[in-house]
């Protein structure tokens, strides 16, 4: 859909004919071209992301079945906030936050081990990163088999003589959420590992050597050299992980638990979908959508501030 920039009214012919055209007309053409070239992305993003988020905010103050909307003010907000189910949903999101440090710390430690480029490190990197290419749907389908009553976990326990322990994790509220969190940590491992490996490759090797000459052990090197220099990368991994926990595991929950038992594994993103497309309460879906958006926006803005702070 490429179109040439429009010809200026006052320039008789386009640039091509007058390579030494006046600077002002060159600038005018540049501005027009700039505006034209901005349009595709602005139209696309405006129509399909920004306009709908405006609608979401508006509809969150209405009772909306998808066809007709009546203004109800903040009553949907107070209805949700007072509903035990919805409080459970918010609690689930908060509990999922607990998985974030693990989802970062674990790959950070492994990246540190791999960063010494021991023989075979490329193979390990490829294998460890593999889950990143696999959809949450597939991951969820397998994880459901892993945690199921007679699933892989149970077989593992039985084979080490712990058959009497019968976790049946997906049937109990707390353990079901834990199962989702563990699966999430597994799924994020590769992504965060790559971020940290990229970060560690920017660190000057001579720093390590100097530290070793000074008699620093591996742990000391990790704490005093690697971690401070990785700060930007840790923050980046943090925001990716947190936003994924809130907005990317819809399909994982859909396949693995369906949000249950009860609301035990329903998060804000899943709740919004359920309210809209299972119950037909699009108003509640919009309200949950606004809360999710605010949560993501707050995290992003705080993150940008932290980044700035680190650079100065």
């Amino acid at each position: 859909m490429w179109r040439p920039p429009p010809r200026g009214r006052h320039t008789a012919s386009p640039m091509a004919a007058h390579p030494r055209a006046h600077r002002s007309s060159l600038n005018a053409q540049r501005r027009r071209a700039g505006i034209l070239f901005s349009l595709p992305v602005l139209v696309l993003v405006g129509a399909l992301l920004l306009y709908p988020i405006g609608q979401t905010v508006y509809y969150s103050f209405t009772q909306w079945d998808g066809l007709t909307a009546t203004w109800v003010g903040t009553s949907t907000y107070s209805r949700l906030l007072h509903s035990p189910d919805f409080q459970q949903v918010l609690k689930n999101n908060a509990l999922l936050l607990l998985a974030v440090p693990v989802a970062i710390g674990f790959p950070l430690a492994i990246a540190f081990l791999l960063s010494s480029h021991l023989p075979g490190w490329r193979f390990f990197r490829t294998v460890f990163f593999l889950p990143t290419a696999v959809s949450w749907v597939v991951i969820g389908a397998i994880a459901a088999r892993f945690f199921a009553d007679e699933g892989i976990l149970q077989r593992l326990l039985t084979s080490v003589g712990l058959g009497s322990v019968h976790p049946d994790m997906l049937s109990h509220p707390h353990s079901a959420l834990a199962a989702v969190a563990i699966t999430f940590i597994w799924g994020m491992f590769g992504t965060n590992l790559i971020i940290f490996l990229a970060g560690m490759s920017t660190i000057d090797v001579s720093l390590y050597e100097a530290a070793r000459v000074d008699g620093a052990g591996p742990l000391r090197v990790l704490v005093s050299i690697t971690l401070p220099l990785l700060r930007r990368f840790v923050q980046f991994a943090f925001i990716i992980t947190l936003i994924s926990a809130f907005t990317a595991i819809f399909s994982l929950i859909y396949i693995m638990t369906g949000g249950g038992p009860g609301f035990a594994t329903t998060t804000l993103e899943f709740y919004g979908y359920q309210q809209g497309f299972a119950t037909g309460d699009f108003g509640a879906a919009a309200t949950a959508g606004v809360m999710l958006f605010v949560a993501v926006a707050v995290v992003s803005v705080v993150q940008v501030r932290l980044f700035r702070g680190a650079d100065e």
Binding site: F37, L44, L48, G66, V134, I195, S251, G276
Partner: protein, 270 residues
Amino acid sequence: MTTRRLSRPLLYVVLAGITVVMLYPFYYMITTSLHSSDQYQLGSGSYSLASWRNLFDVLPVWRQLLNSTIVSLGGIAIILLVSTTGGYAFAILRYRAATVAFLVVVGAMMVPLQSIIAPEFINIVNYWRINHLDSAIIVYAALGAPFSTFLMTTYLRRIPMDVMEAAMIDGLGWGRAYLRVILPLARPAMATIAVLQFIQIWDDLLVGLLFLQDPNVRPITVGLATIPGQHGLDVPLLMAGSLVSALPAVLVYLVFQRYLITGLTMGMGK
């Protein structure tokens, strides 16, 4: 180097352990799919291709693989178009309001699909249509556009102004400079965006679930997600489906690993 003091064998034991944890699901998918439903339930050791035959009966597998391919490539094409034109405008042309426009696009990165899914769906139903691949394509294009444009803008900022001035002196004009100068220079970033978005779109569920409800227009990931609801819990069947749906994205990852890795970190920019 830094790990000299840790014993090497211990290190390899740890890495091998993680390798098992990361690869076991693939092993499980393959071996389980090679049982029939009965064999699986009885825990019998014999193998059969029954679940694979069954998969092709319950899902239009080829059709859905084709749908996934069309949707992914269509989405990528639009994303590449808008991210290169946008990146060109924001990084090179830099007209007066370019910074504001760039911030608007980047700000849209904060809009999660799940927040807007209800109005988005109603809008598409009212002003466009569902159950056609193009509805999913434009939604995916919009979702991928902000990050891709951000990445492309960051990338194109590195192009020295001399290059553009030379193009102007050659009498190219801003429009043709996009085609002859910017697009060739942007190729590495375009490759990264294409790989990132392919995996993103191929692996997605929600958009396909809502906008493509007819089995014949469903992408494979959505088809897979609908198996349990329609055919009960047939684990070998589900694993065969999982394998088929995961394989293309995994292959793309293995072949284009390099681009994916730069893409993840390129987002951090400078």
